[in-house]
């Protein structure tokens, strides 16, 4: 990032969950490898299935994380999560197979800081303390997503089971004739 952008980024990221265990100097080290990227409203940052080479933190604005759903043969993006200032997205860049599993779209004019995986890996090599703190927080983000989707999925499954049970009871009550 350019020196002019650093103070604002430092202020935002200093309060972000992802960086809360890092010392001020460590935050600066991480920011030094970041690149600011502006986004227009409606612009996609990445698409599901794209190569995930960068990890992002929202510096300004808001982005929707979307999954495709088909309606009458048209693929629509359905918002499943919304991330705002200080929140991270794109953890697929840190774990194999390095492909995005959702699409990300700016809902308003926004700005993110992009961290290239190769740069992060180099930093982690030289600064194990940053690696530990950073990856611990990323694990929380991944874990929360996993548990949330697990719960959402099992609730839908439970609904399907109850719906099927109601249908079977209805058919039995109506009888063969």
């Amino acid at each position: 990032m350019s020196p002019a952008e650093l103070p604002r980024a430092e202020q935002v990221l200093g309060r972000a969950d992802l960086f809360r265990d890092l010392a001020r100097d460590d935050v600066r080290d991480v920011l030094a490898i970041g690149r600011a990227r502006p986004l227009d409203a409606g612009q996609y940052l990445f698409l599901l299935g794209d190569n995930a080479d960068e990890f992002f933190v929202v510096l300004a604005g808001r982005l929707d994380l979307c999954l495709p759903i088909t309606l009458h043969g048209t693929v629509k993006d359905v918002r499943v999560e919304s991330v705002g200032v200080g929140q991270a997205l794109g953890w697929s860049a840190l774990v194999r197979p390095y492909r995005f599993t959702l699409s990300a779209r700016a809902t308003e004019p926004s700005e993110v800081i992009a961290f290239a995986r190769v740069d992060l890996q180099d930093l982690f090599e030289s600064e194990p303390a940053i690696r530990f703190a950073f990856l611990t927080r990323v694990s929380e983000v991944v874990g929360t997503r996993l548990v949330t989707f697990q719960a959402l999925w099992v609730r839908e499954l439970q609904r399907a089971v109850e719906s099927e049970a109601r249908r079977t009871v209805g058919e039995t009550a109506e009888g063969p004739g």
Binding site: L47, T74, R99
Partner: protein, 110 residues
């Protein structure tokens, strides 16, 4: 005395040779594995290439049907938001009770 010295030297030479052979073998196996990984074609799936039931857009869709789709999409997103709010307690305090909290609205297509 000289015999022992020669024996130790020969033993050292044999041991060094074996160690070197093992190291070189391991390295060449790792290099071969890396080369195989590099040759493997990358598989990237884009949204517009999602197969089968994710069919192409039907340009002839009537306007009222498009409005219906937009309304349905809004209801799906609203449903997801409500569900996420409900499961957020499960994420913090997992239990059967917090998992199956009843939703205020059910998602129905009609």
């Amino acid at each position: 005395m000289e015999g022992v010295l020669v024996f130790v030297l020969v033993l050292g030479f044999v041991f060094s040779g074996l160690t070197l052979a093992l190291l070189l073998g391991y390295r060449s196996a790792e290099e071969a594995r890396a080369a195989r990984a590099a040759q493997r074609p990358a598989r990237v799936v884009h949204v517009d290439a999602i197969p089968s039931f994710f069919a192409k857009a039907d340009a002839a869709l009537p306007a009222e049907m498009r409005e219906f789709d937009e309304a349905l999409l809004a209801r799906i997103e609203s449903h997801i938001r409500e569900e996420q709010a409900l499961v957020s307690e499960f994420v913090e305090y997992p239990s059967v009770h917090s998992l199956y909290r009843r939703a205020p609205h059910e998602l129905r297509a009609h």
